[in-house]
């Protein structure tokens, strides 16, 4: 089991936490300046350290497009890594929370992905993997600039800490753009993912630190944690407001309809699915809020439907993962839409 589908802290608002460390090895050029032969030599060196410690190597040069894209959809590798032409290998640990990309933009991109709001855990996991590599490799570093990276924007700690947040209430109340502006002023980056710009309501956002030089890892993470906690608070307050009489019926109606469509549709595109997914996930949160506040009645979504199940559906409904789960034979978009609706229907039937 990967980062999704697990019970976790604050997962009504935060889907996952991630810490990524960019590292390079002395003596090897970066990016396109690294020849294929030297890249293979470097990957060999890295593999010799990681394999005895229980890491499994996935050679991406031998992977087909569907296989590589599935890793992107699971948020395990970057699209750049999946599309890389030269030798590049992914190493994953047996606990399935540490993923190390080799020969992406930097020689090493060490990431730890954990469910829910768990940045400390993600940081500890990334550091453990990094220490293992540091004990046998000459990691490129200097006292002034810190870890030396291909792009100067990653100098210093080389760390990008991020959380994936589910913010449907903040979005629906039109508060997101002002939050995004404040975040950019204090050196945090926000990216909308899924549905953003497509006219439908986006509900997932990735928030991460921008500055890596002159700020320690702990300081960066502490700052991000504080900001994320306050956004979690705002989102919950606005959800509470949605349970109040004047808006409740229309919000509950949207969630109930979304659940109905997910359970009965015969064909579902991924973008339609995502819109419904947002409304259903919000419905679960609102039902919980009403229960907490002692308000009667709910959306009608079964209380046994959990965030974990929904989040697994979100990953498994994406085109490449869906294709792999259906046996791996490439399908037309229409075939996929049928298959997607069918898989969702079956999954929801056993809730």
């Amino acid at each position: 089991m990967a980062w999704y589908g697990k019970k976790s802290v604050d997962n009504d608002v935060v889907l996952s936490s991630r810490v990524r460390l960019a590292r390079n090895v002395e003596g090897y050029p970066f990016g396109r300046h690294l020849t294929d032969d030297r890249a293979r030599e470097l990957i060999g060196k890295i593999g010799a350290i990681l394999t005895p410690s229980g890491y499994e190597a996935v050679d991406f040069t031998g992977l087909d497009m569907i296989g590589a894209t599935a890793y992107v959809e699971e948020h395990i590798v970057s699209p750049e890594f999946a599309g890389e032409k030269g030798p590049h290998t992914l190493f994953k640990n047996d606990k399935k929370n540490v993923y190390i990309m080799t020969c992406e933009e930097d020689h090493l991109r060490i990431q730890c992905i954990t469910p829910g709001f768990s940045l400390d855990e993600a940081y500890a996991g990334a550091i453990e993997a990094e220490s293992l590599l540091d004990s046998s490799l000459n990691l490129a570093f200097n006292e002034k600039l810190g870890y030396l990276t291909h792009c100067p924007t990653n100098l210093g700690t080389g760390m990008r800490a991020s959380v994936m947040m589910f913010l449907p209430a903040i979005t629906k109340f039109g508060k997101f753009s002002s939050i995004a502006r404040q975040l950019s002023k204090i050196g945090l980056t926000v990216r909308g993912s899924y549905g953003e710009g497509s006219g439908s309501t986006g509900c997932l956002y990735q928030i991460s630190n921008q500055v890596t030089l002159g700020v320690s890892e702990e300081e960066s993470i502490e700052k991000l944690k504080n900001i994320v906690a306050s956004i979690v608070d705002q989102e919950r307050k606005l959800r509470d407001a949605m349970t109040k009489d004047d808006v409740w019926n229309s919000v509950a109606d949207a969630s109930a309809r979304a659940y109905g469509t997910l359970t009965y549709a015969r064909m579902l595109s991924f973008s339609e699915f995502m819109k419904l997914w947002c409304d259903v996930r919000l419905g679960i949160a609102l039902d919980n809020a009403r229960k907490m506040n002692g308000q009667p009645g709910g959306t009608g979504i079964p209380s046994s439907l959990s965030y974990e199940t929904l989040d697994t559906l979100f990953i498994e409904s994406q085109p490449a993962v869906l294709t792999l789960l259906s046996g791996g034979t490439p399908m037309s978009p229409a075939e996929r839409d049928l298959r997607r609706a069918d898989a969702i229907k079956r999954r929801l039937a056993v809730v």
Binding site: E26, E105, S131, C151, L155, V211, L213
Partner: protein
């Protein structure tokens, strides 16, 4: 291949020079290369093979990092001796065009040229945080010194001269043990 000067580190600089029939040839680690360059024994400023077209191209490469193209740096001479990174061979012009360095060595070779853009990106050029194991002594000492200097400033400001004297001695001792 090991550095043929210290015999300890991996060689990253391969230097050949032929001046009036007097040949020098080295395979060096980056530390030794820097030492030899500082001593004037070797010259890592290679001559650009693109001298002729240079002045035509200049100005096109005011990059995203705002690093002036090489001719501007050297006073817009028609022929330019362009410095190249000893490991990956890039010039500062190529680095600023791409927005990315070619290897870790570039940050040492072009430290002065890159500093302004790094400051612009991060607002700082002083790393704070983790370091590799092999930098443990160096970095811990540096952190300790920084802390002592800060406390010394504070002590002087508060006119605690006895404490200031003790701190100053501690800084002296720490700097002396090289």
């Amino acid at each position: 291949m090991l550095c043929n000067r210290c015999g300890k580190n991996e060689a990253v600089v391969f230097y050949n020079e032929n001046i009036n029939g007097y040949k020098k040839s080295y395979s060096l680690c980056s530390d030794c290369a820097r030492e030899l360059e500082a001593a004037g024994e070797i010259n890592l400023n290679f001559t650009s093979p693109f001298e002729e077209g240079e002045s035509l191209l200049s100005g096109l490469f005011e990059s995203m990092f705002g690093i002036p193209s090489a001719p501007a740096l050297s006073g817009a001479k028609r022929t330019v001796k362009e410095k190249r990174c000893p490991l990956c061979g890039l010039t500062i012009r190529e680095i600023s065009e791409e927005g990315k360095v070619g290897c870790a060595e570039c940050y040492r070779s072009f430290a002065d040229e890159l500093r302004p853009s790094i400051t612009r990106i991060h607002g700082s050029v002083h790393h704070k945080g983790r370091f590799p194991l092999r930098f443990k002594n160096k970095c811990e000492k540096e952190n300790r010194l920084e802390d002592l200097r800060r406390r010394l400033k504070e002590a002087i400001k508060n006119e605690e001269f006895e404490r200031a004297a003790a701190l100053r001695d501690e800084i002296r001792n720490l700097t002396a043990e090289a």
